[in-house]
């Protein structure tokens, strides 16, 4: 756990005038946004509006993509500009966990999947690992289903279970922030419901940013909502306000289902 526990007053992530390009194509235009701690912030908007790209900037996982680069502005996580060249990327990613759209457990056992993050950060003590794995699996409500087959392959689980396993894997390294990139888009409604319940339970300890196409999901789970359109942040604010009486015409059209 982090020693200087961030208070609600200080934003977990603050974005200033961020511009981002894939090659020559500008996909994010001057976005400025603060993401508050210990809350769920939902990014909504039609496909290709840059919301996933923005999310993937927060842990610099976009570095993996050749030609993708920030061309202006800054992102601060825990008060530090993450573009600085002397930043320890591994520690950043440890504190800013990520859950992907398509569940992607490793081709390893269930136990090894959850323990992976701990092991790469140097944890060798078997009992500490076991304790943490059990805690994480309980946290995602998977423990009772898998406690008898921790040694079997993670691929034997159902889609929803695999996604929850990925969440357990993410929280195992004790992040402050969890980024979720459409975590339920490939899941059936029942599994989606379970994940949503999990999100509400997790937000007491973690700052969660979720990208979703499912407007109902955003309105059900999130505290704050940000609406993006064509790479621009159109409007953001408390979820109830965005969904009931938004300031912008475009937001109103989108949340009412006129386009998108």
């Amino acid at each position: 756990m982090v020693s200087d526990s961030p208070s609600a007053a200080v934003p977990a992530i603050s974005i200033e005038n961020l511009r981002f390009q894939y090659g020559e194509k500008q996909v994010i235009h001057d976005v400025t946004l603060d993401i508050p701690s210990r809350e769920i912030t939902a990014f909504i908007g039609p496909s290709g509006c840059g919301k996933s790209t923005l999310l993937r900037c927060f842990n610099r996982i976009n570095d993996r993509i050749p030609g993708a680069r920030v061309t202006g502005g800054s992102i601060r996580v825990a008060g530090i500009d993450i573009a600085r060249p002397d930043l320890d990327l591994q520690t950043l990613r440890r504190r800013v966990g990520m859950v992907f759209q398509k569940w992607n457990p490793f081709p390893k056992s269930i136990f090894d999947n959850v323990a992976y993050g701990l092991r790469i950060h140097g944890e060798k003590d078997r009992s500490a690992l076991e304790e943490r794995v059990e805690y994480c699996l309980r946290r995602v409500a998977l423990w009772d289903d898998v406690k008898d087959r921790l040694k079997s392959s993670a691929f034997g689980l159902s889609g929803g279970q695999q996604q929850r396993l990925c969440i357990a894997r993410t929280i195992a390294t004790r992040p402050d922030i969890i980024l979720m990139d459409e975590p339920c888009s490939a899941l059936d409604p029942l599994s989606t419901l379970k994940i949503e319940e999990l999100l509400l339970e997790l937000k007491n300890d973690y700052t969660i940013v979720i990208v979703t196409h499912n407007l109902a999901q955003a309105s059900r789970c999130s505290d704050k909502t940000a609406f993006f359109f064509l790479g621009k942040l159109i409007e953001h604010g408390p979820t109830t306000k965005i969904f009931t009486k938004p300031d912008q015409q475009q937001t109103e059209s989108y949340v009412s289902g006129a386009f998108g």
Binding site: R64, Q90, R93, F106, G117, I120
Partner: protein, 647 residues
Amino acid sequence: MPDSPTPTSVPADHPFRRKGRSTDGLFRAFFAGNAGLTIVILVLIIVFLVREGAGFFPDYRKELVLYRKAGLEFVDLSRKDLTAHEQMSSLLNRAYYAQVNAACRTEFQRSQEVSAVISYVSDAVAPAQSALERVQERAGEEGVPKELQDSLSAKYKELLAAALAGKPGEGLPPTPHLSSEERRQLLSELEARDPLSSDDPPLVVALQEQLSAKQEQASAPLADFRAAIDAFADASLDLDTLVAETGDTVKATKEAATLHEIEIEKRATLLKAAASAKTEEAKAQFETEARESVTTEPVEFKTALQPVLDRTPDFKAANAALAAALAEVQRKLPASLEDPKAGRYLSAFRKAAGEYERELSDTVPAMAAWKHDAPVGLGSTIMGFITGRDWITGGEWQDFYGIVPLFTGSLLIAVIALSLAIPLGVGAAIYTNQLAGPGEQKFIKPTIEFLQAIPSVVLGFLGIAVLGTILQETSMKDAFSWVPGFPIQQRLNMFTAGCLLGLMAIPTIFSLSEDALNNVPSAFAEASDALGASKLQTIFRVVLPAAISGILAAVLLGLGRVIGETMVVLLVAGNRIEIPDFTEGLGVFFQPAHTLTGIIAQELGEVPFGSVHYRALFVVGMILFAIVLSINWTAQRLLHKFRIGHD
């Protein structure tokens, strides 16, 4: 369906009506024919292999029966002891000379260094010197014209001075074991040498004297050891004579039996021809020839063998003499030798002594139990082929077809090749796929795959001309004397062959490993990155384990390539049909060997069609086929498992 029934054909003027005949069937038949023909050819190849090879075991069995009946096997019981005895005395001799040479090592090196300098200088002045010699020879009584003599002498001096100054930048060959005074002396002696004298400079003579004195001095304390070795070696003389004498007898029996059989066969052929002859005349002719064709009596094996069996007491006595000599020499051996190499030979002797003693004591009971008419089973023939330690062909005595030496050669070479190709191939694949930039990828991949385009005979040529020579020269250097097996005795050996085969396997292993790594979904690496893993952690903990079965398949296919490769091993492996001497430890890899593939390539062109030897080579081919087939099959299974692993 609506009210009207389904018509049997589309009405002629309807747009759905098919126009003309379809050529689909034709194309189908063409492609099916191609696939079918390929499979038929494969089946024919297998049938051919099996048909040619299957006759081997009965034929070989017939040979072994004759080998036993004629008594060759009986003589071989003792001959085996003789061979073992020779090997044992050679071990002792090697220990002795290793000890003596180690003591004289410095003197030997000094002498060699001086020779190197002298030969360098002599080469340099050779043109002027030989010219001087020639004019001297032709000069006759009035002597050489003075100006010619002077000009040649001047030329000689000039060359000599240049030679003594040394090569530009390098100087004369180094003499690290000579003192600077000795070196100076050597150079001045060389300078003062008369161009026409062929005497060695005094320093050389002195050094040679030093060397022989040192040799004498070193061997003096070993005199007892020397005497023991000689006594041990001489102990086999009786048995040697005995084996030679009885060997001649049984060989004559075997030859007579073979000749008789050939004649019988000829008669049968003639009689068959007579039976189908067209005219009475021809028939009579054939029958006469058939009657005359058998000129020899059938061999009475028992009688022929009796004189050999009668000498059994002599064999026993000779055997006892060997055992006594062994006991004697063991008592007299020095407890240890100073030089580590000599010590190794000595302890190898001690280790082998027990085995040899058992072998000796087994011989007499084996001779007593031996029967010339005991049957040779087909099973023991097959076992003799699979576990046989000798592959001896074209000899006067008896041909043996044992696959073990060839198999061991192939296996050891494959081990060398893979231990070179796996790190290089897989390592390069990891680098290219995971760490290299796009520009490097574009360069590395085609370059490594280009290796595959080099014909194996060219690689073999490289192995003989370059690698073998460099390796041997390097192994002579003092700095590498700690490497097991150095200095290398044979320029062509398993290590050279293994290196080249490794080179040939690298592209296979590299390309397939690279594919396997490429097939690992990037989501795994992404998830690992997002958890804060470093690049290397991601590679070694996620990507590599996920690709491991594909990489294993790549290695297996590389192995298949190595085992099946012929040209390189034939050219480079040294082609000695013998089980390598494993007592040398890792040095075993620097011995020459023959391989399953090489033996076929080398011998198939020379054997008579249909002979036992010919069929034996086909069986070797079948075994090779089975090995490579099972390797490739396993690799395919692994690849398949790998592909469905992520669904």
